[in-house]
Subunit: 338 residues, 2 copies
């Protein structure tokens, strides 16, 4: 694949840096511009990553004719606004997760991209990694038998800081939106794979959510999802305790442990799956190796869909995003008694 | 401790055998009689374990004047009946879990033992193992910080057999009553330890339960428990898939992995806990070693409480049993939508 997709990055935080590095290691793209609310910040970022142009505001980046696709890396509450504006400017959009704070707010973003005929993908980079493809293949192949239960966790112990967006309810803080969206997306992916579809929606969601007494953000939360197939999923998240951050898929013929489902081999390399078959005491180790960087794979996956004339990325389509947001809504609604 | 407690065993199934072997390795007891619905079966069992007397029915065992305590090892639906009859005969009772099929049915069993002034313990043998004491000590000590989340699983892949009690609803089949009671009892234990009490009750229970289409027993189930302290627990069970059957306790200062919480070192030996502190990449391994057999420890714990003149065993009191049964009721009620 020739380097053919010109990216612009909106905002210059940690995830923007990860993406810029990823694109630099991608097969398909290059970052041609970065936009920040401050020109100095944009120029610093551009200098660090060898990006040709720095813009002192996001609108200028969207007006940059060389930019074909934008990566929206703003704080959560601005995702929808800049996705819609990017679509209006005719730019394809890779938007950092979550696309929005609620399912309802995601709808106009999805609609804007459809109307302006641009590609939209929510940036669940793990969906683009070959490990995830391998997991889906194992489930589809029946290697685990009928999948009855999925457990997936993503939580970390963050330092309390009311000035940080993670601890600010208005800025979309809390664990569910920040990292709880991963286990939910994983459970829906596996429920789909188990029934021959790209994803599936739960028919019931219940759980428990602990809110911070001062800021009201969810600090620790768990939920049970039930699918029409009978599959059950247990998901958990937190910003006050570090969890094992792994996933387990239990089937009637065996179970798969995914020690590193969310950020597998970020700068290329190996990841391992452990397949416990039947009564065998020692699991089979399945190695997935890639020379690609995780965020580079995300950029390449996006570019490949675009090159194929698609208006959605199969690994994370807008319909998938909307389904995920609906579950996050339901999970957050468990606060104060399910 | 001298061998001073004379046990009678009611029924001769797999768990009765495990207990007979355990008592043989205990410091405090000996089995003096076994009762079965068939004299031949009782005699076979007595011969195998060197038990002096075999009775051809349970009533005869209860009438045996040398028997001081009975172990009720019948199928689940007969637990209450024989616990009450044993109490009436003035025998102390160690009853296989679950004590009953529902909380309501447990009440008369607890009341009978109280009225007849005999000791009653539900046979959660893992509660008597030093590993469990070590876990409780770690939680109480604050080594994990504030405990926010507990995850505990116990499930196995059983072969479908409608003639087996595990698959028969009337005989108390299904995962929740058979092994799901362990994770629930563990979550309640940790919630208690985290708040300086022997156990604590959840203020909310929700979950999902899959029922077998033919027999109606629960084949796979998950639940979220929420405690007044804010602690959340995720529990799971199954009789169609083998789970990792471990427990994890997540606190603000670190988390503890218990790879083998339910049947630790059954015939004596070492078990290991893994304590992940803060951001340290490698967990601290905590070894718990004992020369005692698991079911022997259960018999010794029971005998020690009795020798101390107690009418409940602190490791698993009747109040603890009643609380556990109430949660199992709530969990089973999640079937068909929570």
């Amino acid at each position: 694949m020739a380097a053919s997709l010109n990216w612009g990055i909106i905002a210059t935080g940690g995830i923007a840096r990860a993406f810029a590095q990823g694109v630099a290691h991608s097969k398909s793209g290059r970052v041609v511009a970065v936009g920040s609310r401050s020109l100095a910040s944009a120029e610093r970022f551009a200098g660090e990553f060898g990006i040709p142009r720095a813009h002192g505001n996001y609108d200028a980046l969207l007006a940059d004719p060389e930019v074909q696709a934008v990566y929206v890396a703003t704080p959560h509450p601005q995702h929808v606004e800049w996705t819609i504006k990017a679509a209006g400017a005719g730019k394809h959009v890779l938007c950092e997760k979550p696309l929005s704070l609620t399912h309802a707010e995601a709808l106009p973003a999805v609609e804007a991209c459809r109307r302006h005929d641009v590609l939209l993908m929510e940036a669940f980079m793990y969906r683009c990694h070959p490990q995830t493809a391998k997991i889906v293949e194992l489930v589809r192949s029946g290697a685990l038998g009928r999948v009855a239960l999925v457990q997936a966790a993503f939580g970390y112990a963050g330092r309390f800081d009311p000035t940080n967006r993670f601890w600010n309810k208005e800025l979309g803080g809390g664990g569910i939106l920040d990292v709880g969206c991963y286990p939910v997306s994983f459970a829906r992916l596996i429920a789909g794979a188990a029934s021959g579809r790209p994803f599936a929606e739960p028919t019931a969601v219940c759980g428990a959510v602990q809110l911070h007494p001062e800021t009201g953000v969810d600090t620790c939360a768990a939920a049970t999802l039930e699918f029409a197939s009978g599959m059950i999923a247990q998901v958990s998240t937190s910003i006050v305790v570090t969890q094992d951050n792994s996933a387990r898929i239990y089937g009637t013929e065996g179970w798969l442990h995914v020690p590193d489902p969310w950020i597998p081999a970020r700068e290329s390399g190996q990841v391992r799956l452990r397949l416990h078959r039947g009564a065998e005491p020692v699991p089979e180790e399945i190695t997935v190796e890639t020379g690609d960087w995780l965020y580079g794979l995300e950029a390449d996956t996006f570019a490949a869909a675009l090159a194929a004339g698609k208006r959605e990325v199969p690994e994370m389509s807008p319909a998938d995003t909307l389904g995920n947001m609906a579950v996050l809504d339901a999970w957050r609604a468990c606060a104060g008694g399910s």
